[in-house]
């Protein structure tokens, strides 16, 4: 149960979900690899932003 609460477990799932959701919305990226790579990059940026937000509210953990 504690394993499920760890970011190392749910973060990759969220990234994958984000990639799958965002990829169809990207126009003009013909090869699926490029489209999914860009979608993953956007998901990563959002995750990074969340991570920085955590650093702002819980700085003592960093």
């Amino acid at each position: 149960m504690t394993r499920l609460q760890r970011p190392t477990f749910w973060l990759p799932l969220l990234l994958a979900a984000g990639t799958v959701l965002i990829a169809p919305l990207l126009p003009g990226q013909d090869p699926p690899l490029q489209r999914h790579a860009l979608a993953l990059l956007i998901s990563l940026t959002v995750a990074l932003s969340g991570y920085l937000f955590t650093a702002m509210v819980r700085p003592e953990r960093f």
Partner: protein, 705 residues
């Protein structure tokens, strides 16, 4: 009162006369750089990198760039593809940025670990003779088995197994293992200033019975080891505030860079992902992000090298914000030993009579003052016939000085009460015995006080015989130190048991801002609380059990190693050299830590300006931002690469400054801010312009376009 000639102070680090003292041996630096270089790679582990928000963003950017190097078309072909070579070079500079930041941290940690090893060497495991509380016998146990409350016996030649309090015996102890001072110190039971012992020190003579006061791994040295090693280093309030600021800046720039691609696409100026990563890394404060933890660790290291044991980084940092110093006069402002200078008889008594009574009152007084009175009597033996001295002290008992009674003396077997002490206290004693106060006593008292000396009235029963003039010697250079502290905005308050006239003369001579005369231990707490209510941070030193509440109340309490266990427990720092003047030095170390952090943050943020002028024209030359290329950089690619290389190399270039600390100058906060803004703000703007241009010229010379 005498003032000795001043000596140079604050040359760079706080030193003064202590530069001749042998401090905790400098740790071995051999192999430090090699180990730090290896650690820099180990710290690339994302589980470690994630603890530093700014550098973790760089870590993520490096991964993206490495992917783009392996597959240049991964994030788009055409204009979005900046080429494998360029991507590879950017990846390498980002990797170098991470490694340099890791190296700075590992180097500071390595120095801390070496310092910890030097401290640990003082903690050799030894066999202890543990006394059985029931049977009274003793058995040999390993020192690591000792617990708080255990009672052990140590004899000449033994190493003291753990921190403790002397409960029986008198012995001389070699404390050079922890203080570097080779002269042995006397330890005795029941003493307020010599009753505690530190594990790792060695008994040179006699024997002591010691009650252990710390469980294994919980002693002062253990706490300091954990602190300098970084094992128990928690972020200080300043570090937390700076972490938030850096996270906010990074977040702002991340959002700004993330919104650029749609804008660029609209303007028909598509931007490669690698260039966006380079822009992000150039904009976020990587310099301070990479050096922040190194600065904190190095600050703790400096305190340890100064022979001060701090129980937390918070305490060291609080030193930098101190507004008020509460200082004991004796030992801090004046040399500890006041010496009897003259006998001044009153009430028609002769000097011989006064000397006899003073000798009787000092018969059991082993303090330097008491011994100096006996010495003065001996020096005056030509006027004081020894045969007439009160030698009938068989069966007599000594009355110890206390802060409450403010007098000491002897109760002779024949019922005579010899007393010496503060004039008001002796007056009260004499009145209680039905005596009268001589008319010329106050004049004599004022005469001594105006000289800055301490008048000690002397009486036998209800008769006052006169006053002993105790001479105070102000420490060399102390006035200049107080002047500098005033310029730094720090107020100094002197506490003394002396009368107001003496206290006033010494306060004026030493240059303190305020003084409390005839102070009791309660006054110390009252002064500290009063200052704290005004929103000020207060530092003080102390060594006695009666100082413990005030040490606990002060924001920075520095206990003397020679002090009682109660004082050491209450304080958040312990000075192994037992030098009260060091409080002033500790404040400068704390200030230096804060100034270093502030200066490098200013430099880091100011650095960004030049990077805007390097990267933005390179990114958007097509939409008319070309004229912003003020540096005349060779090409957009060389401009980005130059900015990235500069971003990486500035970190190791600043490592020596981060570890050594910015040069401290005793200036006010406004002056310091102005100076640092000029030096590190303006310098932070100009240096990258010069640096990036120079790197660009070198890159162009290598044929990269």
């Amino acid at each position: 009162m005498t003032t000795l000639p001043a000596q140079p102070i604050f040359p760079r680090m706080p030193r003064g006369r202590r530069d001749q003292r042998r401090y905790t041996p400098r740790p071995r630096q051999k192999g430090l750089v090699r180990r730090a270089a290896l650690q820099a790679f180990v710290k690339l582990d994302p589980r470690i990198a994630v603890r530093n928000p700014v550098m973790f963003v760089v870590w993520c950017g490096t991964v993206v760039c490495l992917l783009a190097t392996g597959m240049p078309n991964l994030f788009g072909g055409g204009a979005e593809n900046s080429g494998r070579v360029f991507n590879g070079l950017i990846s390498l500079t980002l990797l170098a940025t991470l490694l340099f930041a890791n190296f700075a941290e590992a180097l500071a940690e390595g120095r801390g670990k070496a310092q910890a090893d030097a401290l640990r060497r003082t903690q050799a495991r030894t066999q202890a003779r543990l006394l059985d509380p029931q049977g009274g016998g003793e058995r040999l146990v390993d020192s690591s088995m000792l617990r708080r409350g255990d009672v052990v016996m140590v004899s000449a030649g033994d190493t003291i197994p753990a921190d403790g309090e002397v409960i029986e015996g008198v012995a001389s102890v070699d404390e050079s293992a922890i203080t570097g001072e080779s002269a042995p110190v006397l330890k005795e039971a029941g003493s307020d200033v010599a009753g505690s012992v530190t594990g790792g020190t060695r008994i040179l003579s006699d024997q002591l019975t010691i009650r252990i006061t710390a469980d294994p791994g919980k002693g002062f040295i253990d706490r300091m080891i954990a602190l300098v090693e970084g094992a128990e280093r928690t972020k200080t309030p300043n570090e937390i505030a700076l972490t938030v600021l850096l996270a906010v800046l990074t977040q702002v720039f991340l959002i700004a860079v993330a919104t650029l691609p749609p804008l660029a696409a609209y303007l028909k100026e598509p931007t490669p992902v690698v260039t966006l990563v380079a822009l992000l890394v150039a904009l976020i404060p990587t310099t301070i992000g990479g050096l922040l933890s190194a600065i904190g660790i190095a600050g703790m290291d400096r305190v340890a090298q100064f022979n001060v044991i701090a129980t937390s980084g918070r305490a060291v940092e609080a030193c930098g914000d101190i507004n008020t110093l509460v200082l004991d006069k004796t030992g801090t402002i004046t040399l500890g030993n006041r010496l009897a200078e003259e006998f001044l008889p009153v009430g028609g008594h002769s000097e011989v009579e006064l000397a006899q009574v003073a000798y009787g009152a000092s018969a059991f007084d082993q303090t330097p003052e008491g011994r100096s009175i006996a010495r003065l009597v001996e020096q005056r033996s030509s006027v004081v016939p020894f045969a007439s001295l009160p030698v009938a002290l068989d069966g007599a008992s000594g009355i110890e000085f206390s802060a409450r009674t403010r007098m000491s003396g002897t109760d002779a077997a024949d019922g005579s009460e010899y007393r010496k002490g503060a004039v008001e206290a002796i007056k009260g004693f004499v009145r209680s015995r039905g005596g009268t106060i001589p008319e010329d006593l106050d004049a004599t008292y004022e005469q001594v006080s105006r000289l800055g000396g301490t008048p000690l009235a002397v009486c036998r029963g209800g008769t006052i015989f006169g006053v002993i003039y105790l001479k105070d010697i102000i420490k060399p250079g102390i006035r200049e130190r107080f002047d500098q502290l005033r310029r730094m905005g720090i107020r100094t308050v002197m506490l003394t048991g002396d009368n107001p006239i003496t206290a006033g003369v010494i306060a004026r001579e030493a240059g303190v801002d305020d003084f409390i005369a005839e102070a009791t231990p309660e006054d110390k707490i009252a002064v500290i609380e009063g200052e704290q209510k005004l929103g000020k941070l207060v530092a003080m030193t102390g060594d006695g059990s009666n100082d413990a509440p005030a040490l606990a109340q002060a924001n920075v309490g520095v206990a003397m190693n020679s002090g009682t266990q109660a004082a050491k427990e209450a304080a958040n720092m312990v000075d192994l050299d037992s030098d009260p003047t060091k409080l002033i030095d500790i404040v400068t170390i704390g200030k230096q830590l804060l100034i270093t952090r502030g200066a490098l943050t200013t430099f880091s943020v100011a650095n960004d300006v030049a990077k805007y002028f390097a990267i933005l024209p390179a990114l958007f030359a097509g939409i008319g931002l070309g004229p912003l290329n003020l540096m005349g950089l060779a090409s957009p690619r060389s401009a980005i690469l130059s900015a990235m290389v500069f971003n990486a190399v500035i970190i190791p270039a600043l490592v020596p400054l981060a570890l050594k600390g910015v040069e401290f100058r005793p200036l006010s906060a406004e002056q310091l801010l102005r100076r640092n803004l000029l030096l590190y703000g303006l310098g932070g703007v100009i240096t990258p312009f010069v640096g990036i241009k120079a790197i660009d010229l070198a890159i162009a010379a290598l044929g990269f376009r």
